[in-house]
């Protein structure tokens, strides 16, 4: 059923920019339109581009914020999240905890 939802109404998640839009809804309580505009602005694209998996794949590789497939050398997991937090200018709790535990300075 998740696949049906994904194909019918999703923004594609990490395949495109759905995860970034979702983060803005969660962390800043933004409605979807506002969240899309915010993310598009940060990525220097249009809101419609956010649902384009081809465009977003390229952009995600350039920004190194994680992609849908496991490509060696590309950021994944915590590394990707740290970059996403910086890119969107938000605080992600697990990133903050990670920085605290490792003694890294919070950016």
């Amino acid at each position: 059923m998740h696949i049906a939802h994904l194909l019918a109404s999703s923004m594609g998640g990490i395949r495109a920019a759905g995860d970034l839009v979702a983060r803005m809804q969660l962390s800043k309580k933004m409605r979807i339109t506002e969240a899309k505009e915010y993310v598009a602005d940060k990525l220097h694209v249009t809101p419609l581009d956010l649902s384009d998996p081809t465009l977003m794949r390229q952009l995600r590789e350039e920004l190194d914020i994680g992609v849908i497939t496991g490509v060696p050398g590309i950021a994944k997991g915590m590394a990707a999240k740290v970059r996403i937090a910086d890119l969107l200018d938000i605080k992600i709790n697990c990133v903050e905890q990670f920085k605290k535990k490792t003694g890294l300075v919070s950016g």
Partner: protein, 326 residues
């Protein structure tokens, strides 16, 4: 007889130390209590923790210190058997000098002390020979009330034990990390505690951690109307009202629910679900993620719902319901 009673009192004073929390002995009786060896007969229940009172280390030390030999008259520890032995001893006239820990309640005290005058009143003896206990009673008048019989006489000495962890078992703990974050000190009054709680409540809503509240039905039952939030009764609330309560509570995402009526068609159920969701998204200040799945959000109740139904409901929620997600 009077001489024996005084010795018993001195023994009790020395042994217990229960009447003074510090080792400030104000006793007028020097040790030993008697120059000549005297015998004191003490009736007491046999405790399982003590192997033999006659050979017990404390008994020997006590006797050496005071020059008083104790003749123990032992009874069973179990209450009814102890009471039976006590009554027998008194009926037989074989009275000891002291009853120690014999569980003599106020009824027995009244019977043997007040009515039959078998117990010696201790008021004057306490006054003249027990300065520590006298001082304790002056500081704790409630204790004096507890040990005084209805005729105004004291027939027995109490075992005083201030159990702090008993009286203060219901402790309250406070997270000092929160206090430090707010620059507050540990509250010492109920007013200060209330202020701390209000401040912590504010911080709790401002930690940055998002909270998503998802419902389980379109109508809240609210525990038979008993549940309220900010003065509003939860029972009977529809999704657009539930949303407002959740916004007040500080949640980040609200998930309304419309349960599928299995006697109705998919269009009917989807229409109903969209009506609720649209009513939410029109007024929502936070994202609305309706529940769409097996038996909810217009989707029929199957473990493997038909994919065309799922996709129609899903797309409708976004395009018509203006949901911010699912």
């Amino acid at each position: 007889m009077k001489r024996l009673v005084i010795i018993a009192l001195a023994l009790a004073l020395f042994a217990g130390g229960a009447f003074s929390q510090k080792a400030e002995w104000l006793s007028k009786q020097p040790m030993p209590v008697s120059k000549d060896k005297v015998t004191l007969k003490i009736f007491t229940p046999q405790l399982v923790e003590i192997q033999d009172l006659d050979t017990n280390w404390f008994t020997k030390w006590y006797e050496a210190k005071t020059n008083v030999h104790v003749e123990w008259q032992l009874a069973p520890n179990e209450t009814s058997a102890l009471r039976q032995k006590l009554n027998l001893v008194i009926a037989a006239g074989d009275l000891p000098d002291v009853f120690l820990g014999a569980k003599i309640d106020s009824n027995l005290e009244a019977r043997y002390g007040i009515d039959e005058k078998l117990f010696l009143p201790l008021n004057d003896l306490i006054d003249k020979n027990m300065p520590n206990f006298k001082a304790y009673l002056a500081k704790n008048p409630s204790v004096k009330g507890m040990i005084t019989a209805i005729d105004g006489k004291i027939y027995g000495l109490p075992n005083v034990n201030e159990c702090y962890h008993c009286g203060l078992s219901q402790k309250m703990w406070i997270n000092k990390v929160w206090l430090d974050k707010l620059g507050l000190k540990v509250p010492t009054t109920t007013d200060e505690f209330y202020s701390v709680l209000k401040a912590c409540d504010h911080v709790a809503n401002d930690t940055g951690l998002p909270v998503e509240i998802g419902m389980s039905a379109e109508m809240v039952l609210g525990f038979h109307g008993q549940l309220e939030y900010n003065g509003k009764r939860l029972a009977g609330m529809w999704p657009h009202q539930q949303l407002q309560i959740c916004e007040e509570a500080g949640c980040a995402i609200f998930g309304p629910v419309s349960n599928t009526n299995t006697k109705k068609t998919v269009p009917w159920n989807l229409g109903k679900a969209l009506t609720f969701v649209k009513a939410c998204t029109e007024i929502a200040k936070i994202p609305v993620h309706p529940n769409v799945g097996m038996g909810v959000g217009g989707v029929p109740m199957f473990e493997t719902p038909a994919v065309d139904v799922v996709t129609r409901c899903s797309a409708a929620m976004i395009e018509i319901g203006h949901a911010d997600g699912l």
